[in-house]
């Protein structure tokens, strides 16, 4: 019996290459058997970013690249190409593909994600109700943006897994925009439909996977996969551009030191 071949993919703009580099290095440290392929949507050709192999959009999605480019500009273009990057990895023979946003960092082994049962794995933003005075508003924002987070998605090379990827790819070609009144929030809200539409969808409720500013209050250690969503190393004291006024220090000692370490890591990569 051979171990399943797991492939990791990410899709990003060239401005995110340092993040891709950091993600690849952290993945290599904790999951050395999983290689990362990064699809760079805006012009960067083949090459490497740290431990990641990079490829242009035309390589990940030869038949769809032109349509995607006509329909979207970066950064929406990178979101719209996620399912294509997953399909490309499955076509290349991976037994399971794990999509990781470039602004994630691997902090421990990813066993609960990589070996989760099922053909499709989706990850919720929250594992329980939001807390505090703004709880209802926070939950309503997620009902607009998506209960599941499109930063971490996995699919197996099985009929249901491939069906899911083909469906998501088709929907993203047609509707990967921000239009809350129409029920669209880029790539993300589509994922909420997955548990109904496909067989074998696992909603992964693991406290260490996809830890981020929106769920720190409910997460226990070990943090395995940390999401620096909306973090800009040029403003290293701001936790995210999505919540004005939320500083890194507000997130507590452990997270704050992680953010500072991440900013330093990106600076070192760029230097």
């Amino acid at each position: 019996v051979t171990a399943p071949r797991i492939a990791a993919v990410t899709v990003a703009t060239a401005s995110y290459l340092p993040r891709v580099h950091a993600l690849a290095a952290s993945l290599g440290r904790h999951e050395p058997s999983i290689a990362l392929t990064a699809t760079i949507v805006d012009g960067h050709g083949g090459g490497r970013a740290g431990g990641a192999r990079t490829q242009p959009l035309e390589e990940a999605a030869p038949t769809l690249a032109a349509r995607l480019r006509a329909a979207y500009e970066p950064p929406a273009l990178a979101m719209a190409a996620k399912a294509s990057a997953m399909r490309h990895a499955l076509d290349a023979g991976a037994d399971r593909v794990v999509l990781l946003d470039a602004d994630l960092l691997v902090l421990a082994d990813l066993g609960p994600l990589v070996h989760a049962p099922g053909d499709v794995v989706v990850v919720p933003h929250l594992l329980g109700p939001a807390r505090g005075p703004g709880a209802e508003a926070a939950e309503l924002r997620l009902l607009q943006a998506g209960v599941m987070n499109a930063g971490v998605v996995a699919a197996s090379n099985t009929p249901p897994g491939r069906e899911f990827v083909a469906w998501w790819e088709d929907r993203l070609v047609q509707a990967c925009r921000h239009d809350l009144a129409a029920g669209v929030h880029y790539d993300q809200r589509w994922l909420d439909l997955a548990p109904g539409l496909f067989e074998g969808v696992t909603v992964l409720r693991d406290p260490g996977i996809d830890v981020a500013y929106w769920n720190l209050h409910e997460r226990s250690r070990p943090w395995r996969l940390f999401h620096f969503s909306g973090f800009d190393p040029a403003c290293p004291e701001r936790a995210t551009k999505y919540v004005p006024g939320l500083s890194v220090a507000d997130l507590g000692e452990a997270a704050a030191s992680l953010f500072r370490g991440y900013a330093a890591l990106l600076a070192a990569i760029e230097a």
């Binding site: 939950e139 924002r141 997620l142 009902l143 509707a175 548990p195 539409l197």
Partner: protein, 402 residues
């Protein structure tokens, strides 16, 4: 496993409740059906009903008079759904199957009952496979706006996880049971998009025989063989008639294009449901008045007054019974008072109409100085157009304007 079924409605829907309860009883003869009526005890004049009636007070809804004013009839029933399920569990049942209004049970709900053996919650998605055809994106987005899971059939098992979930759901519905898709709300339904995230072990029942309804009829081939209704060749367990008007030849007011021609054999099920409603007294009960439609002086409560009340939140405590109209401290009097503090001005621009004004940029453009020189113009708009446009009784016009 002690199993119960539950539904919630209002007096003029008693025929619908009877059809649901009796059809469920045919296939689950020893399982009791509890029916909550949001406007008081069940109507029916002493008939032996196929359900056990419950009042809103019995459900333990906190301060039911607030909810009865905050929401109109339909939204009130939706908002009280989690409290109903919790109450039936508290009566000692191990598992409860919720069946929303407009439901016909055609076979045992075996997949739901089996699911509840292993899972704390069993939810039914609107769609169980990707849609095809040129309108696939539009139709799937429509589901994302109304909710991935349909509350029409929802199974819950008595356990701590379920109680916590129902408590959270009831809490959110106290304030947020409105139709506002762009805000992430579709009455009670969108909230349960969180189910698989919040409840460990909650399961999604992908069974084409449960919750056959207008939103999936195009994908599910319905055939009728004598008394048996089949979908894709298998016996249908639950057929839903969401938005069905027995006076019209269409599946639903939400899907007017689904006419008898388009529906084929499926239309026979709608006809059968209409006959069942008639047999259960629809003609004689459909006109029963809703007990909380009007203030105690008979003036119909406009939707605007309900929305304002909801927005005021705890501040409404000072009014006492919101339906009462006597006295200067009543909510009714407060709505009618001028929106401007200070010296009285003519004609009055009441709080109710000012609230409407603040939400309408078109009115703001025309009557820029609404509390000053544009008072008369705006009051004239309210009289000539406003009352009809937003369904406000003329009793809310300024004195001298009616």
């Amino acid at each position: 496993v002690r199993l119960a079924a539950a539904t919630i409605a209002w007096g003029s829907q008693v025929a619908h409740v009877r059809v649901t309860a009796r059809s469920f009883g045919v296939h689950h003869p020893r399982v009791p059906v509890f029916a909550a009526f949001v406007d008081g005890p069940a109507p029916g004049g002493g008939a032996v009903e196929p359900f056990t009636p419950l009042s809103l007070e019995a459900l333990g809804v906190p301060r039911p008079e607030h909810l009865r004013f905050r929401y109109d009839r339909d939204a009130l029933a939706y908002a009280c759904t989690p409290s109903l399920l919790r109450h039936v569990m508290d009566l000692g049942y191990d598992a409860v199957v919720f069946l929303k209004l407009e439901t016909l049970v055609l076979d045992r709900l075996q997949s739901v009952v089996d699911g509840l053996e292993r899972h704390p919650v069993v939810a039914t998605p609107h769609l169980v496979a990707p849609l095809e055809g040129s309108d696939r994106v539009a139709r799937e987005l429509n589901i994302l706006l109304s909710g991935v899971y349909n509350v029409g059939v929802l199974g819950v098992r008595a356990c701590d996880e379920t109680r916590a979930f129902l408590g959270w759901w009831a809490d959110r519905l106290e304030r947020h049971c409105r139709h506002a898709p762009h805000e992430g709300m579709h009455f009670e339904q969108r909230w349960i998009d969180f189910l698989p995230a919040f409840v460990p072990g909650a399961t999604v029942l992908r069974d084409v025989t449960v919750n056959v309804a207008h939103w999936n009829l195009r994908e599910r081939r319905v055939t009728v063989r004598d008394a048996r209704v089949l979908v894709d060749g298998r016996p249908v367990a639950v057929f839903r008639f969401s938005g069905f008007d027995p006076d019209r030849a269409a599946a639903s007011r939400y899907a007017p294009h689904l006419t008898p021609d388009v529906l084929g054999e499926a239309w026979l099920v709608f006809e059968r449901y209409r006959r069942a409603l008639e047999d259960e007294g629809w003609t004689g009960t459909r006109g029963l008045p809703y007990a909380y439609a009007a203030f105690d002086n008979g003036v119909v409560v406009p939707q605007v007054a309900r929305a304002m009340y909801a927005e005021l939140g705890e501040e409404t405590d000072r009014f006492g019974d919101p339906f009462a109209t006597s006295g200067p401290d009543s909510y009714y009097a407060w709505l009618q008072q001028d929106a401007a503090a200070g010296a009285p001005a003519e004609p009055v621009v009441s709080r109710l109409w000012y609230w409407v004004y603040r939400r309408r940029s078109d009115l703001q453009a025309v009557y820029a100085d609404v509390l000053g020189r544009d008072r008369a113009g705006f009051a004239g708009w309210a009289r000539d157009h406003g009352c009809d446009e937003i369904h406000v009784p003329r009793a809310f016009l300024a004195p001298g304007m009616a």
